[in-house]
Symmetry: C2
Subunit: 301 residues, 2 copies
């Protein structure tokens, strides 16, 4: 999995930096996570082909997470997109999209599938042979989901020399790496464990924005390889965090520590802070493997 | 009048350049003309205070002219705007705005006045003692207006020495510069022409985007000091211009020449062109005083 941060900031614009959104490349699918105003310019800036995007996930119906959606949907038609686009979003966003497209008689050149999210429980919203996406219900001032991305079926590594020696027909190699037993040319059953070893680990990524400190998510995101958690405020502004149902850097750190994640990325910073290093310092009091999100940052998961 | 180009491009995003919009400072009022996606980032880039804007004018209901409106309206509340904001826009835009604000239960901290434009004739949509704004009906693939800004009542220049000599009470000086006759201390009527000379000329600015070549506008914009006219295409792509109801650089030039305007600014370029100088060259075949719009450009009118 490869993650690119397209925008790292909170709701109010900061010069040269955009509101929070990310693009995740998982098993050759490209998923846009949140879609604030200006997303097209960020995609252009980072030379990401618009047509690459297969899915768009919207966490919640606050403008800094979805105001760019209508523009992107419209631009795709100007670009004569043909391949299907699936948008997963809360009911409010779907209602606004549908109404706006109807009132403005918007021409759509491709299949646009809008899937409404409205469950308060975690649900698997997409599954293929390669990976799955589940919602992570969060606690914010409006209905809000994070998203958990989990690779699956990463293939085992084949010992080819041994396979040849055991007289296994090449057509069965794929089955073996998928963890299935096969028969060799002599008619003997070969256990896949004999000729394969553990392949790449199935990686996982959890995106959690926007939310107040909400320990209920810990079980769901336990041991993920990467956790993105919002940290709009510093601990010294806890009252503001409480009022707006956002997290502090310390909140994000506690979640990362208690979920025993491998690495934490924080973002969605309030524009009131000049020095973002203070966020990292606050997290490091209790969790070490942390980095700041910034526009354009690439992360290999 | 001072004009700043915030965005200069057509509908499709180009790296580092934004869709068309401008901010006009006329008699200390600030008017945002069109409001595409990303407008907040452009205002930030050019260090323009958001709160300065008194009016927003939307020419037509295509996304590259209004998709930034909902974000700006929403951000104003986050910034706790108090002063009134007036938005002049076609009915479709007003309907979309109102619906979106309703569905998302958007909190608005200030008086938001949305004025629907739907006349096919030119109408004066704003008038103060200092200036007026009229619509310029254009011909595009959807209902579209340009806007004409006209200063008025620029004061005459008073010859103070003469006024003193003629025994005119100081309280009447303002009347004289406004072109009114007064009585002096001796009871004699003084014609304002005796003691004042012509002041600054009342300037005018016409914004015309988007439109096909439409000579009906010539009378309305005759002799303006500055004309902004869209030129999405070059003459070699006339077929595309026809199909999309846009103008070529030559179309803009003809309008500028026939309306005998002082200066022409062209913009709203299609992203297909790399070398924008070709637009200027095309215009200069028949009209000399022309400049390219580019993001951040300042023009004194």
């Amino acid at each position: 999995m490869k993650l690119k941060i397209l925008g790292s900031q909170g709701a109010l614009p900061r010069r040269g930096m955009y509101s929070s959104s990310q693009i995740l490349n998982i098993k050759n699918k490209h998923i846009l996570i949140d879609c604030p105003e200006g997303i097209q310019f960020q995609l252009k800036s980072f030379r990401i082909k618009f047509s690459k995007i297969d899915f768009i996930l919207i966490s919640h119906a606050h403008g800094d997470h979805y105001f760019g959606l209508i523009g992107l949907i419209s631009t795709y038609s100007l670009l004569r997109r043909k391949n299907k686009l699936s948008v997963f979003c809360p009911r409010v966003v779907s209602e606004i999209l549908n109404t706006q497209m109807k009132i403005s008689s918007m021409f759509i050149s491709y299949e646009l599938e809008i899937i409404e999210l409205n469950s308060n429980d975690s649900e698997k919203i997409y599954e293929s042979n390669d990976f799955s996406i589940s919602t992570i219900p969060l606690k914010h001032s409006t209905y809000c989901n994070g998203f958990l991305f989990q690779e699956k079926n990463n293939k085992r590594k084949l010992n080819i020399d041994l396979a040849l020696k055991l007289n296994i027909n090449k057509v069965y190699y794929n089955k073996l790496t998928k963890g299935e037993n096969v028969f060799n040319e002599n008619g003997d059953e070969i256990n896949y464990r004999e000729v394969t070893s553990k392949g790449l680990k199935n990686k996982s990524y959890a995106y959690c924005s926007d939310t107040t400190y909400y320990p209920s998510i810990i079980e769901k995101i336990s041991h993920v390889d990467l956790l993105y958690h919002e940290s709009t405020f510093l601990e010294k502004d806890r009252e503001k965090a409480k009022l707006t149902m956002h997290s502090t850097a310390m909140d994000a750190a506690k979640i990362a520590r208690d979920a025993q994640v491998n690495k934490l990325i924080i973002g969605h910073f309030s524009s009131r802070y000049e020095n973002l290093d203070l966020f990292v310092n606050e997290v490091k009091q209790i969790f070490q493997n942390v980095e700041l999100a910034f526009d354009g940052k690439d992360i290999d998961i």
